[in-house]
């Protein structure tokens, strides 16, 4: 079990009578990129919500870094500080870019200076340095997506979950986001990303988990380069 961030067993997630997710077993190794690929309704977002500790599965067990999750309120809050999800259709709070990116560091009780540094660093990572005072209403679709990503990165998560981060963005933003994801993985972060694009895992050197009707169809593992962060 050593080296795995998640171990999911017998996971089912139901919405009324609809079975949205039915996973027998899934292991997510640390320090790697994992792409959840599949069509609409395949269960990608549902799986990310479970992994982000936002939705308790109807049945089954989630083990995060060797700790079985009991879905207790206090525990969940601590876990959510370590795992951050970028929603498929994320929401930017009213106001400027800075107040949005500062949200995560602020709720973690960081000092003003630390929050300020975190905001600047995160915006620089997504190529939006100098956007701090810009009102979110005046951002383009691609810029908004990058601000959302910067907001997630400002939380300094151990695991970053991205739900369709490349959807509805222009070419420039797409390239920046893809390069950023690859660099985060190289630094040792675990990134789990949902995408419609079946080839993106291969292109970005990640494992691909193919989902269909809420079930895992197959997993395509990429060889781990010796000495890389994901090599254990």
């Amino acid at each position: 079990m050593n080296g795995f961030d998640y171990h999911l067993t017998d996971i089912q997630l139901r919405y009324g009578n609809i079975l949205a997710l039915d996973v027998d077993e899934l292991l997510i190794s640390g320090g790697r990129l994992h792409v959840l690929a599949g069509p609409n309704g395949a269960g990608k977002s549902s799986l990310l919500h479970v992994m982000a500790f936002l939705e308790k599965p109807s049945q089954g067990q989630v083990v995060f870094r060797r700790t079985p999750i009991v879905w207790e309120k206090r525990e969940l809050r601590e876990l959510r500080k370590r795992v951050t999800l970028l929603h498929q259709r994320s929401y930017l709070f009213g106001g400027n870019v800075s107040s949005n990116v500062a949200f995560g560091p602020r709720v973690r009780g960081m000092s003003k200076e630390q929050v300020c540094c975190s905001v600047q660093d995160s915006l620089a990572m997504v190529g939006l340095g100098g956007f701090e005072s810009k009102n979110v209403k005046h951002l383009s679709g691609g810029e908004a997506r990058r601000v959302e990503l910067a907001r997630a990165l400002a939380c300094k998560p151990e695991v970053l979950l991205l739900d369709e981060p490349l959807a509805y963005v222009d070419r420039e933003s797409r390239v920046i986001i893809e390069e950023l994801i690859v660099s985060l993985v190289l630094k040792g972060m675990t990134v789990v990303m949902a995408s419609h694009d079946e080839c993106i895992g291969e292109r970005m050197d990640g494992d691909t988990i193919h989902l269909q009707y809420g079930k895992i169809e197959r997993i395509t593992n990429r060889p781990v380069a010796p000495g890389s962060a994901g090599h254990r």
Binding site: A52, L54, K73, R77, R80, K81, V83, T84, L85, H87, R89, S90, Y91, F93, G94, F103, G104, V107, R108, R151, A152, C155
Partner: protein, 231 residues
């Protein structure tokens, strides 16, 4: 000159001559309304948020009750609070009846359903992604609700404006619980009712104009606050 023109002229002379009775009634009305809406917001806003975000069995019933309470007649509130505050009532020993405090209690009860209901509507109309977004960014439940409140602040300000409009213009509670005592519990609305019944139409009209002006001014200030923070 017609009766109405004459009354209007007298009304303006009363306003501009800074008539003590007129300004005492204005001050009493405004201060009572501010206290009442302050207390009503203290209870109504959290109640509206709680009902809006909470998932519990009697939620729908509570919403129906809250809607019904919005149309509660002021004299009924006056009557109920009168019963509580009168000498024989459970709170009679505090001697609150026929004081401005009694009017504040009555008007607070009157405004709570309005503030709560408007807040509830604002919460229900809020973007459903706000709470999950705050949670995944590491917020506690309280921090998440605070951010949600921040996001719907324009709706909450509208709730306060609506509640203020209700309390400053009502007459039943002020009359029954305040007793319309000159220079003490006489509000603009009770003074209008009294002076008009005495045949002092000009005095009533002067107060009516001031009442409308004060309401307009306060609404302009609140709307300006709303717009400037939205920009």
């Amino acid at each position: 000159m017609s009766f109405f023109d004459q009354s209007l002229q007298t009304a303006f002379s009363l306003i501009f001559s800074a008539d003590q009775d007129v300004y005492a009634a204005v001050w009493t009305s405004v201060s009572i309304a501010i206290w009442s809406i302050g207390f009503a917001s203290l209870f109504g806003i959290p109640a509206g948020i709680g009902i809006g975000v909470g998932q519990f069995r009697l939620k729908r019933s509570l919403m129906v009750i809250l809607n019904s309470l919005m149309a509660m007649p002021t004299v009924v509130v006056g009557l109920l609070v009168y019963g509580l505050l009168s000498r024989q009532g459970p709170m009679g020993k505090w001697g609150l009846l026929f004081t401005t405090k009694a009017i504040v209690i009555g008007q607070t009860i009157l405004a709570i359903p309005i503030v709560a209901n408007y807040t509830l509507s604002a919460i229900r109309a809020a973007d459903f992604r706000i709470v999950p977004t705050t949670l995944t960014l590491g917020a506690s439940t309280m921090q998440s609700l605070t951010q949600l409140t921040r996001e719907v602040r324009f709706g909450i300000l509208a709730a306060i404006i609506a509640g203020f409009g209700r309390v400053i213009s009502e007459v039943g509670v002020a009359m029954m619980l305040g007793g319309n005592i000159r220079g003490y519990t006489r509000t603009m609305t009770t003074a209008i009712a009294l002076e008009t019944s005495k045949g002092e139409f000009a005095f009533g009209l002067a107060l009516g104009i001031i009442l409308m002006s004060v309401s307009l001014l306060i609404n302009i200030v609140l709307t300006f606050m709303q717009e400037s923070s939205r920009a």
